[in-house]
């Protein structure tokens, strides 16, 4: 019960005379608590440094915010078509969805093999760790850079987009799949090994069937993410689809009304996908 902080501000406590803080200390700072406080402090300092050093380009914060609010109003309350019809927009939406489908499928197929090699119970530690490390490095390169790097040799378009977008899908799904595989009871694998089953037989007869539902769930979650990614790649990396229309409306036509329509369309699809993936997740958990 050592002395701690000296008298703090005088506070009243419901009729009880003012008291001084201190004497019996309440908290002992553990390593965890210090880490938490230090992290928050560092983040706060960096945030302030950020605001102090941002490149404002003479933009007035308050004015900008007001006009953004006005823009939101236009987008959400006055959506209107200008350069294309609903049918065309839906067609573009399907192109975006298709990019997501292709990326997810390619990612899933490759990740299935990498995931087996990365699962510690199906592989050995060295292979597993090197795959996990490899996958982490892939993830460190932002998707848009993968797409643009491939676009140099393949040209801007769906091929570069799908290849570039597949990298993060592979990385994400490899991690998810390998963790699903690792959940499989080690006893089951040993029992099958004892029966003389080969590695492939174990994988096909025990590992895949028992983890199938969680694989499906993860794959769908990735598809949900990939929809957003392909919207972004359409806007930033020439992948086409609804994202490209959005980009044209913003950068060339300055048409907020049409951006409103597109925003609503994307929002509807995204929420639908999220709803479905929650359903699938709950089903898998149950």
């Amino acid at each position: 019960m050592a002395m701690t902080k000296t008298a703090g501000p005088v506070l009243t406590n419901g009729g009880v005379p003012p008291f001084q803080e201190g004497r019996i200390k309440i908290r002992v700072l553990s390593k965890a608590n210090i880490a938490i406080r230090l992290t928050m402090l560092i983040l706060a300092v960096l945030t302030i440094v950020g605001f102090a050093t941002f490149n404002y380009q003479g933009v007035h914060l308050l004015k900008g915010l007001m006009s953004t609010l006005a823009n939101f109003k236009t987008i959400f309350f006055q959506p209107q078509f200008a350069h294309f019809t609903l049918l065309e927009a839906i067609y573009q939406l399907f192109i975006t969805l298709s990019l997501g489908v292709l990326t997810t499928l390619i990612g899933a197929i490759i990740a299935l093999f990498l995931g087996m090699l990365a699962a510690e119970n199906l592989s050995n530690k060295t292979v597993s760790n090197s795959i996990k490390g490899f996958v982490a490095v892939i993830r460190a390169v932002p998707t848009v850079l993968w797409v643009l790097i491939f676009a140099v040799s393949a040209g801007l378009g769906s091929v570069a987009a799908v290849i570039g977008m597949s990298f993060h899908s592979i990385s994400y799904l490899t991690k998810a799949y390998s963790e699903s595989f690792e959940e499989l009871n080690q006893g089951t694998i040993e029992a099958l090994e004892g029966c003389g089953a080969s590695w492939w037989q174990i994988v096909c007869q025990a590992v895949l069937p028992s983890s199938l539902t969680s694989l499906i769930s993860w794959t769908f979650i990735r598809f949900e993410i990939n929809f957003g990614v392909s919207v972004a790649m359409g806007a930033a990396a020439g992948a086409g689809g609804i994202g490209y229309d959005m980009f044209m409306d913003s950068a060339f036509y300055y048409n907020l009304h049409e951006m409103g329509v597109i925003t609503y369309l994307i929002l509807i699809v995204a929420m639908l996908l999220e709803f479905m993936s929650i359903k699938i997740k709950n089903k898998v958990r149950a």
């Binding site: 506070l11 406590n13 004497r23 019996i24 908290r27």
Partner: protein, 267 residues
């Protein structure tokens, strides 16, 4: 003996169909240790939570210390009354990342304004009182330990300490020993009994172990299907009563009736 708590025709319905309590009547005197027994799902937990309004009863009157709990509308008044009612839980419900001391002091939060409470400022008297209570429960060594490092029995004692620093008139215990081993259970029940006899605090405890109820209670209230089916002294509890409380599953009944009676007679 004065009446501290009285249930008058209390009912609780969830939705349109599920009846948790129906027409419950009983009263509890000051300084009594009353056990509420019954099979799981009988409504024991709901009954306790109706007293401090963690659950709102649908109809009836719950008179605590002269005031009808159900008629209290202002949040402030409700909080003031809740400080007079301590509660301990099956799963202890502690803030596991905080120390024993901080958890115990949480019992004082009901007396504090929003700001003082949020900042967690306590005065010296409160701290001294808390330390005294912690010591009386045999936790001196653990004062600054994080609660996730304690055993189940120790956690429950922290729960009791938190309730006691409230300076309550009544202590509600919701299955306090259901997650504990027999030794820790005995320690906890001894503490509850002790609190009742030496501090004069009324204790209302939900139990599903009949033997424990028979050993420790001044009075037993048996509940089945949301109704009070027994209200009387432990000594007067007949096999017939037990059958009414626990239903008619003969094998379960044999276990419940035979063993506890033997144990109880030995003591």
């Amino acid at each position: 003996m004065t009446t501290l708590l009285q249930f008058k025709n209390v009912s609780k319905q969830y939705g349109n169909s599920t009846v948790a309590l129906s027409d419950v009547n009983f009263s509890v005197n000051e300084g009594e240790l009353v056990s509420i027994i019954g099979p799981s799902g009988a409504g024991k937990s709901t009954l306790l939570r109706c007293i401090n309004r963690l659950i709102d009863a649908t109809s009836g009157e719950i008179i605590f210390d002269g005031a009808d709990m159900l008629k209290i509308n202002k949040k402030h008044d409700l909080r003031a009354l809740r400080t007079k009612i301590g509660m301990i839980f099956q799963n202890y419900n502690l803030v596991e990342r905080l120390s024993v001391f901080e958890n115990v002091l949480h019992g004082r939060l009901g007396y504090k304004s929003a700001l003082v409470g949020a900042l967690g400022l306590y005065n010296e008297n409160e701290k001294k009182q808390a330390i005294k209570i912690i010591q009386s429960l045999g936790l001196n060594e653990q004062v600054y330990k994080r609660c996730d490092q304690l055993s189940g029995g120790q956690k429950q004692r922290v729960g009791i300490a938190r309730a006691l620093v409230q300076e309550p008139r009544v202590l509600l215990a919701d299955e306090p020993i259901a997650s504990l081993d027999p030794n820790s259970s005995k320690v906890i029940m001894d503490h509850l009994k002790n609190i009742c006899t030496t501090l004069g605090i009324t204790v209302l405890v939900n139990l599903h172990q009949l033997d424990v109820a028979l050993n420790y209670s001044d009075r037993i209230i048996g509940i089945s299907g949301g109704r009070v089916v027994y209200d009387g002294l432990p000594a007067n509890l007949t096999d017939e009563d037990i059958r009414r409380i626990y239903g008619s599953d003969p094998e379960a009944l044999n276990l419940i009736i035979q063993k506890p009676k033997e144990v109880a007679q030995k003591i």
